[in-house]
């Protein structure tokens, strides 16, 4: 087991290293940040001065070396635009992102699981078809569009909710809905297929044969087992939600990591882009590592596989 963990840890570090190299290079492929920090018409001297200030005049290899060296010290560098340590910015936005992701997750599960169960129980009936349409909409409607519609209806027309920003529980409602919408559909589909699988299994058939009421069969025998894959997916989705809320956060001016990344890209702020992508990647790597270790702990066969 120890050997397995060490090996997994090694892979994780390797993937983070590759991610750092990729994001470093890709950020620089996109263009020169200096042109965004000065107005066209600024003199070449001014442009050069800024480039020197940020160390962008040095060879790429040297820049990457410096970047890695700082990373090892836990220093993600200073934002070009905000001139603030990037880690500080990131950590100040993280609670907002977590709050939004948790709210969106709660919403997506509250919608996704019951509708998924109903669709499975009433398979191929109207409810199931309605569920399919809902899932299709959820997976295909762009979240910025859903967001704008929500703002138009609930804030401008009805005046119930604040249009943007953060601070009160009311502020989180619309962004959570816009972000959770896609995931609600995904959770509904998985619940439905997982329920169908369980409902077709031998032990559910046995329970029915024993004459248990259908409601009890569904609630006690089927649902509990069908929930495992859904919750596993939800756990990974939560990490994804923290990191992919770029569009929703921008529409609702929600101060999370997604918007930070958006700003980083818009301003060619390499340190911000590098840090948000790397830390997001690290989150996913850590979750995967924990899942791998947990699985290995539960199922010894995994440890001996390659």
């Amino acid at each position: 087991m120890k050997q397995y963990i060490v090996k997994r840890l090694g892979y994780s570090l390797l993937s983070l290293f590759l991610l750092s190299l990729t994001i470093f290079l890709f950020a620089r492929l996109t263009g020169d940040p200096v042109v965004l920090l000065v107005e066209p018409g600024a003199s070449q001297e001014d442009i050069d001065a800024i480039r020197t200030q940020f160390g962008l005049d040095r060879p790429l290899v040297v820049q990457y070396g410096n970047f890695l060296e700082s990373l090892i010290r836990g220093d993600f560098g200073k934002s070009f635009y905000y001139r603030t340590p990037v880690l500080e910015l990131y950590l100040s936005r993280l609670p907002n992102s977590l709050l939004l992701a948790l709210a969106a997750m709660a919403f997506s599960l509250l919608i996704g699981i019951p509708t998924g169960i109903l669709a499975a129980v009433r398979v191929n009936r109207w409810w199931d078809s309605a569920g399919k349409v809902f899932a299709l909409l959820g997976l295909s409607l762009p979240s910025f569009w859903v967001g704008l519609l929500l703002i138009l209806f609930f804030s401008v027309y009805l005046g119930w909710l604040p249009s943007s920003g953060s601070g009160t529980p009311l502020h989180v409602v619309m962004p959570a809905f816009a972000l959770g919408w896609y995931f609600a559909a995904a959770h509904m589909r998985l619940t439905r297929s997982s329920m169908l699988e369980v409902l077709g299994s031998e032990y559910v058939k046995l329970a029915r044969l024993k004459g248990l009421p259908e409601a009890l069969v569904i609630a006690k025998h089927a649902f509990k087992n069908a929930l495992i894959p859904v919750l596993t997916l939800a756990g990974i989705n939560l990490v994804i939600m923290v990191n992919v809320a770029v569009v929703v956060e921008t529409v609702f001016a929600w101060p999370g990591i997604g918007r930070l990344l958006y700003e980083g890209i818009a301003f060619r702020d390499f340190p911000i882009v590098q840090a948000t992508v790397l830390l997001g990647g690290a989150m996913i790597v850590v979750v995967n590592l924990l899942v791998d270790i947990l699985y290995a702990a539960i199922d010894p066969r995994i440890r001996y596989e390659r």
Binding site: Y82, V156, A253
Partner: protein
């Protein structure tokens, strides 16, 4: 004394105390009230709190005008107005500028503002054009706390333009405080001499200011200023409609039309010194059709600028026919090219392209692809078959500066300066965005650079602009109108008070209704 009279006396005393309470605070009756909120289109940065790091763009001045004050600065009706300096003199040899500072000006922490702070702020300045300024200023002297003397190495007619408008070098920070807290500490809690005090800041999210009642010009009319970053245009408009914010910046096209139609909201355009033009990058290439002046003129006649302006900025942009902002010093007004497609076709035929020609690509910044699309449409209509190539902003300007783009380039600039600085960047040999130049223009430009006589210099700079027009080096598009929205609570938004300034300013003049 009976029980009754005693209680009456206590009551009277209590009433008296209650009544004298507020009177005891001087000026409480005129105390500013209320809060005004802005929905800002771009992300707020802490560098904007520190004049030393001001880049040469207008956006940071959104914050500087509230938090800080300058020795001299643009104010309503005056491009260079006295502020912290009551007056200034220039020596006959044009080598010395002496500023007499206003007496009794205080920073937000109560420290008096002296000549030392002015000298310190200048020497500390490291923003755009720092090198230009420092190479030409030999010394800053402080003969006494109320006077500052700038000694130049050689005569430099643009000194005031750079010191007062093009940079943050003239905006004053408190020396003692900055030395105590350091650069980073200063950005965390900036102190200035402006009409508003810093309260709190969340990078990229929200900025809060509070009125500084001892501001020398006048006590601000609004108690609190809040700047909220709302990146999405539709969300900004929604927030304004709901009254969550009082002023929003930058609303374009159809949304601006909706803003104008909404009862209670006011559309407030500000013209910013940001002209857009088409640059004929191949005019020096003898093999290119663009080498022929008639082709360049045809392009100029082909475009219906009024129609584009109407569609994209509701007619508020200014058609000025020059690449130099009309508000700049030494501006020369070129004659107009009417929209005349027939004449354009005739010119093309004369140049040997009766059926038009394949004109290659039209490069533009994707943020202004709407303008490019319209221009391309009009060029195609007369037979100049050009393809739109929108590039992401950074890539576009990088290619522009590295001379990678060909054919047509949609140029633009919102940088500060005067006619000379614009010509230097876009027209004269050596400029960052110059693909080729003309010897006569270069010669004239050198001539004016050392010219101390303002009249003579103006004549030369005007001559250059006239030649730029005659050679049809560019096809001017418009001087961009920045469309903003103002909500019903606002009496004075501060928008448009200072010519060429895109945002609300001066903030001590903004006002809410009934306050």
């Amino acid at each position: 004394m009976t029980e009754r009279t005693r209680s009456l006396r206590i009551l009277a005393l209590a009433l008296l105390l209650a009544w004298t309470g507020p009177v005891g605070i001087p000026g409480a009756g005129a105390a500013p009230e209320g809060q005004m909120t802005w929905g800002v289109h771009t992300s707020l940065a802490p560098t904007w709190f520190d004049p030393a790091e001001t880049p040469g763009i207008i956006t940071p001045f959104m914050v500087l005008y509230a938090l800080h004050d300058a020795v001299v600065k643009p104010m309503p009706g005056k491009p260079i107005a006295p502020a912290l300096a009551e007056s200034w003199t220039v020596s006959p040899d044009a080598l010395t500028y002496e500023f007499a500072l206003r007496k009794g000006v205080k920073f937000h922490n109560g420290d008096p503002l002296t000549a030392e702070d002015v000298k310190f702020s200048f020497e500390r300045y490291r923003g755009t054009a720092a090198k230009t300024l420092k190479e030409r200023v030999a010394a800053v002297e402080t003969p006494d706390p109320g006077r500052v003397r700038f000694r130049l190495k050689q005569p430099w007619p643009d000194f005031l333009t750079f010191y007062a408008t093009a940079t943050g070098a003239g905006w004053i920070v408190p020396r003692k405080y900055v030395e105590k807290v350091g650069d980073d500490g200063y950005k965390k809690h900036p102190i200035g001499a402006g009409p508003y005090k810093f309260v709190s800041f969340t990078p990229g999210v929200e900025l809060v200011f509070e009125a500084f009642d001892q501001y020398w010009r006048k006590a601000p009319g609004v108690k609190r200023l809040v700047f909220k970053v709302i990146p999405d245009e539709s969300t900004r408009l929604a927030a304004l409609k709901r009254g969550e914010v009082d002023v929003v910046y930058s609303i374009r096209g159809a949304l601006a039309e909706e803003l104008r139609r909404t009862a209670g909201l006011t559309l407030k355009p500000t013209i910013i010194p940001a002209p857009f033009w088409i640059y004929f990058a191949d005019q020096w290439d003898a093999k290119s059709p663009w080498h022929d002046k008639r082709v360049r003129l045809a392009a100029n006649y082909a475009i219906d600028r009024t129609a584009i302006n109407q569609a994209e900025t509701l007619g508020f942009s200014k058609i000025t026919w020059s690449i130099i902002p009309s508000s700049f010093d030494f501006y020369w007004q070129p004659p107009a090219y009417p929209h005349d497609p027939a004449k354009a076709r005739q010119l093309l035929a004369e140049a040997g392209y009766p059926n038009g020609f394949d004109a290659g690509e039209y490069y533009c910044d994707v943020a202004y692809a709407n303008l490019g699309e319209a221009a391309v449409h009009y060029l195609q209509a007369v037979g100049i078959r050009v393809k739109l190539r929108p590039l992401e902003r950074a890539a576009f300007f990088k290619g522009f500066a590295e001379k990678k783009h060909r054919n047509l380039i949609q140029g633009a600039s919102g940088a500060f300066g005067n006619a000379a600085t614009r010509l230097e960047a876009f027209v004269v040999t050596g400029g960052t965005y110059v693909y080729g130049s003309y010897a006569d223009l270069d010669g004239l430009f050198r001539e004016q650079a050392a010219e101390l006589d303002r009249k003579k210099r103006e004549a030369v700079l005007n001559r250059i602009q006239q030649l730029v027009h005659e050679k049809a080096m560019f096809a001017h598009l418009w001087e961009l109108a920045f469309l903003n929205g103002v909500g019903s609570r606002v009496e004075e938004s501060g928008l448009g008070l200072i010519a060429g300034h895109a945002y609300s300013a001066p903030y001590e003049d903004v006002k809410l209704k009934g306050k």
